[in-house]
Amino acid sequence: MTMAFDSIVARLQRQPGVAGVMLVGVEDGMVIAGDAGPGRDSDTAAALAASLFRRTRNAAEDAGLGDATFVRLEAERGHICATAVGDVVVVAMTVAGINLGRLRLEMMGAREMI
C-alpha cells in the first residue's frame, strides 16, 4: 500500500511546476506519503490543507452543491490544489503559471488509483 501511495506521489511530482505533493489523512490531517517540497514544513502544510479541504467540502454540502471534488487556492506565488477520495486528500503545491487543467486531470487520475 505504501509503495502504491509513493508511486502516486511520484507521478504527480513529475508534472511541470509542481513543487510538492502529499497524501494526507482527511480525518487527522497527517501526512501519509510525499512532502510539501523544499523549504516547506510538510506537517504544517498537511494539517492546513486537510482543514481547508474539509471546510470547503462542508461549505459545498451546506450550500446544497454536493460533495466537493476539487479545491484550488490561488496565492501570489502559486496554487494549492486538493481533491479527496475516501479518507485521503491528495494535495499538490505548485508555482504560479502552471497548466492547471493538466494538473487537475492528473489529480483526478490519482483519485482513481487510490
Binding site: 480525518e27 487527522d28 497527517m30 506537517d43 494539517a47 486537510a50 482543514s51 474539509r54
Partner: protein, 156 residues
C-alpha cells in the same frame, strides 16, 4: 473572548490563542504532578481536577513506557475516537515541565492540534523571559483554586 477560561496570567494569552486556532473543545495545562495551571472549556472545578489527575498519571505511565521500550520518555500522546480525540503534549515554561491536555471533535484534527501545540510550546518558552519569570515558582495552585472557585463555585 473565550468564555470559561481560567489561567495563570503568563499562560492566559498562549492558551487562548491555542484554543482559538486549533478549535479544541477543552484544554488544560498542568504540572506533571497534577497541579493545574490553566484551563479552557471545562464545566466544573471537579472536572478540571479529575482531568489533571488522569493526565498526570498518563504522563507518568507514558514516560516510563518510553524508557522501558526505547530508553527515552515519550513526550506526546494521541488517542483518536470516532467523533472525539485527545492529545497530550509536554512543554516547558521557565525551565519547568508542563503538560497540555486537549480534547477535540470533528471540528479539528490531530494535525491542526499538533501544529498549534508547537506554536503554543514556543510561545510558552518565551512567555516568562521578562519580569514575570518568578511567577511560575510562586504557589500558583492557591491562585488557580481561587479562580476556579470564583468561576465554578467551591468543590463540596
Amino acid at each position: 473572548m473565550i468564555a470559561g477560561a481560567v489561567s495563570a496570567p503568563w499562560l492566559d494569552a498562549p492558551l487562548r490563542r491555542f484554543v482559538q486556532d486549533s478549535r479544541v473543545q477543552r484544554a488544560v495545562v498542568l504540572h506533571p504532578d497534577g497541579k493545574v495551571l490553566g484551563q479552557f472549556g471545562f464545566a466544573s472545578a471537579s472536572e478540571v481536577m479529575t482531568a489533571c489527575a488522569l493526565a498526570a498519571a498518563i504522563n507518568a505511565s507514558g514516560k516510563e513506557l518510553g524508557r522501558q521500550m526505547g530508553g527515552r520518555p515519550f513526550l506526546g500522546l494521541h488517542q483518536g475516537g470516532r467523533s472525539q480525540g485527545v492529545f497530550m503534549g509536554a512543554c516547558a515554561a521557565a525551565g519547568q515541565e508542563c503538560i497540555l491536555l486537549a480534547a477535540f471533535d470533528r471540528d479539528s484534527t490531530l494535525g491542526l492540534v499538533r501544529l498549534y501545540f508547537a506554536e503554543f510550546r514556543d510561545a510558552l518558552g518565551g512567555a516568562l523571559d521578562g519580569p514575570e519569570k518568578g511567577a511560575l515558582t510562586r504557589d500558583l495552585e492557591s491562585d488557580l483554586n481561587s479562580s476556579l472557585d470564583a468561576l465554578f463555585g467551591p468543590i463540596n
